[in-house]
Amino acid sequence: MNAGSFVLNILILGVPFSVALLLAALGETINQRAGIFNLGCEGIMAMGAFVAFLPPFFMAGTPQAPFANLIGLVLAIVVGALLGILFALVVVTFRAPQGIAGIGLQMLGWGVAGTLFRHYVGGVTGVAGIAAFPIPGLSRIPVLGQILFNHNPLVYLAFLLVPVFWYVLFKTPWGLKVRAVGTYPRAADSLGIPVARVRYQALALGGAMAGLAGAYLSLAQAKMFADDLIAGRGFIAVALVYFGRWNPVGVMVGALLFSLAQALQLSIQVAGIDFPYEFAVMLPYVLVIVVLALVRKARMVGPTELGKPFDREQRV
């Protein structure tokens, strides 16, 4: 294998790898902009991956099979949004500390997905999943076409969502409210913005995105479900939001960086370079820590009230 095709391989692999991280991190960006630190993302992804996997698993071979993936995606989004709302109940209405509540949601998500999976599916089984959809014309562009336009539809969707999320956050009334309730909820409240409701909405959207991210893993990337399918991607997505400075574009850069590192790791193995497999798997996790250590706290950028509950009648 020559160096050129080695690099090309990494790029072709890396782009679809980034999608689960990107989708989840976009949702988490909205959560954190609204002042909520949702570590339950990992658990929501597990649930999303599981419920999305069910329709193609059970409907395989039936006449409705072509719609199975779509049903799975919708299910994942709905379940994700519901779990986001459950999290909102705990941290917004009950004002529980967000870090530990997130761990609780993560365990709940893992637990429910694992329990139901064992019962209804049993062992690891593959599904047909979502097929690649080369964009006519564009996919024929040499090199670039292979890297960018020869993927399944969710890949295109994820990257299209980056500018959409940017626009929503910075150019719409709702985005304005989200940023206000995450930075100075008291000010938002004094202007009649329903802080709790906006946070619920943000968490529902964030949850839906995490659910979709999970569905991407089980339907498009792995095309199967397993207990450890998510493997910390939910936590990495949370870290990416810091890395991306709460900006969808920055988050996208971070997601690509990580997935390229992962693709590099795989390519090294495939290329038969002698390097312990375990250390290769460690790489992205080490990278997260390094990135978190290097990212400096920037003032006046992100949500300054991140992680703090709001109570109108609680005096300053």
């Binding site: 009334p173 304005l176 409210k177 008291r186 000010a187 004094s190 202007l191 009649g192 329903p194």
Partner: protein
């Protein structure tokens, strides 16, 4: 949005309870068209609660609100805005990392188009309002880059942009220099020809200057209502507190103290602020034993960084700080405490005490590492408890037991816990930052007496405050800080509000 003029607004029998306290007790209040009603009272009298009820932020437990004679119910601030009522809160309600226009847009629902924020319309409205009322603001400035005075202006513009014809101002001058205050008062009296204003304050000369009628609140009840011009400030003060209060004053007569025998001696101190700017720029100041030096200045001119640097909580760029001859510049907080520095920090709830710790634990917070509160690393619970009971008596700390969580006490009692800890340690010098902010006059009097008593015992005291009255009452000398520099140090007895005010605004006339 209703465009009916507000001819009268009446509150009837408004009652609001918080746990353990009746914040508003059957309050009646009415305001007519184009009039300025002052609402005065001590901190905690219920003024802000009452106005938050009027804005729909709190729901009253009992009582009614009548607008032009018919009952209205405000379930959220939106309802209040719709009826033309707007409020400028004491703590600015501005999102720091958004622009002025975005802050206004947050409340301007007409700019909320589906899928699009019409920021252009907001900008236009801001410029209209700012022109009409002569309140220059830049709609595209980021709020955190604006000065306090400018932010105050933004708050006014924001409220007017939202269509307020009835304006509630909650202590609008608390962060302004005397000159800025005068400008604001002039502006408001001009605006009162078009608007109705409720003006909350406890600065009585401002009340006299601006208002037509005055209501006085004490412990949640209206205790007086009448025309402002019939009352002197002294009458109002007596009504406000329920008794004649004569705050103690320093007696700095006698010989001038010799300079150079500083207990606390600060030389050419330079300190960086959080944003890397030079927050303190060559400050030199000497405080003799038994002297109170007041540091006057508008907040944000380096006071916080100064206090932190003096207490080992912030690194020092250059310069020296000698406490009784020992160098403490750049040393850690523990070391500075060990040298005999006492500190009453600005935020008593998060800097002065550990709220969830008991009163007795808070009383030994600084000295837990040594005898008599611990031995060989183990706590001596008996000694800690005895100490607490003793200080509870001496400082009149009102708590059920010294095992009570300190954070559950009232502000005045929390401040007494801090004071008791700091003074019982027998400090050589004491830095007191806004020691009476938010306290009632009784607690204020107690704290002032304590500070004066330490002064006569030979403690060197640096008093940092925004209240000129407090500084002028207590200080032997007054230093004025502006943009990180000490502009001038004047003897306390020669200082006047006017001269200090000019210095605080950065004007050195000689």
């Amino acid at each position: 949005m209703g465009h009916e003029p507000i001819r009268s607004l009446e509150l009837r029998g408004i009652t609001k309870r918080f746990p353990g306290i009746l914040a508003c007790d059957h309050i009646d209040l009415s305001v007519g068209e184009h009039s300025v009603r002052a609402l005065v009272g001590e901190n905690g009298a219920g003024k802000t609660t009452l106005m938050n009820i009027l804005m729909g932020l709190y729901q009253p437990d009992e009582g009614r609100i009548l607008l032009n004679g018919s009952e209205v119910r405000f379930r959220s601030p939106n309802d209040a805005f719709d009826h033309g009522i707007g409020m400028v809160h004491q703590h600015f309600m501005l999102v720091q990392n958004m622009t002025v226009a975005e802050n206004v847009a947050l409340g301007m629902k007409s700019s909320h188009r589906p899928f699009r924020l019409d920021i252009g319309a907001v900008r236009k409205r801001i410029l209209e309002v700012s022109e009409r009322h002569d309140l220059p603001v830049n709609p595209d400035a980021l709020v955190w880059q604006l000065s306090v005075g400018e932010q105050q202006r933004v708050e006014l513009v924001k409220t007017l942009c939202l269509g307020a014809r009835f304006l509630i101002l909650d202590e609008p001058t608390s962060a302004l220099t005397p000159q800025e205050t005068d400008e604001l008062i002039a502006l408001l009296s001009k605006m009162s020809s078009e608007l109705s204003i409720v003006f909350i304050s406890h600065k009585l000369h401002e009340v006299k200057a601006l208002s037509d009628t005055v209501s006085i609140l004490r412990r949640g009840r209206i205790v007086f209502e009448g025309r402002t011009e019939d009352q002197t400030p002294a009458d109002l003060a007596a009504l406000m507190t329920g008794h004649d209060v004569e705050l103690p004053r320093v007696d700095s007569g006698g010989a001038e103290r010799p300079v150079g025998t500083g207990m606390l001696s600060i030389r050419e101190l330079c300190v960086k602020g959080d944003r890397g700017n030079l927050a303190l720029d060559g400050v030199t100041l000497d405080i003799a034993p038994g002297e109170i030096v007041g540091l006057a200045g508008v907040s944000g001119n380096g006071q916080r960084e100064f206090a932190e640097a003096l207490n080992g909580l912030r690194g020092v760029d250059s310069g020296s700080i000698l406490l009784d001859g020992a160098q403490i510049a750049g040393r850690c907080a523990g070391a500075v405490i060990g040298e005999g520095m006492g500190y009453i920090p600005e935020d008593r709830n998060t800097e002065g005490i550990v709220p969830s710790f008991s009163v007795r634990e808070n009383l030994v917070l600084k000295d837990i590492g040594g005898e008599p509160w611990s031995k060989a690393g183990f706590l001596r619970l008996g000694a800690i408890a005895d100490n607490a009971n003793d200080l509870k008596e001496r400082f009149d700390i009102r708590c059920p037991t010294t095992d009570t969580a300190a954070g559950s006490l009232s502000g005045g009692n929390i401040q007494k816990v801090i004071l008791a800890r700091e003074l019982a340690r027998g400090p050589k010098a004491l830095v007191a930052v806004y020691p009476t902010r938010g306290l009632d006059m009784g607690a204020e009097e107690f704290i002032h007496k304590q500070l004066l008593a330490r002064r006569s015992e030979g403690v060197a005291i640096l008093l940092i405050s925004e209240e000129l009255e407090e500084i002028m009452n207590l200080s032997d000398r007054i230093a004025v800080i502006y943009k990180g520099k000490i502009l001038k140090v004047v003897p306390g007895k020669d200082a006047s509000k006017r001269s200090l005010g000019l210095l605080m605004a950065g004007v050195v006339d000689e």
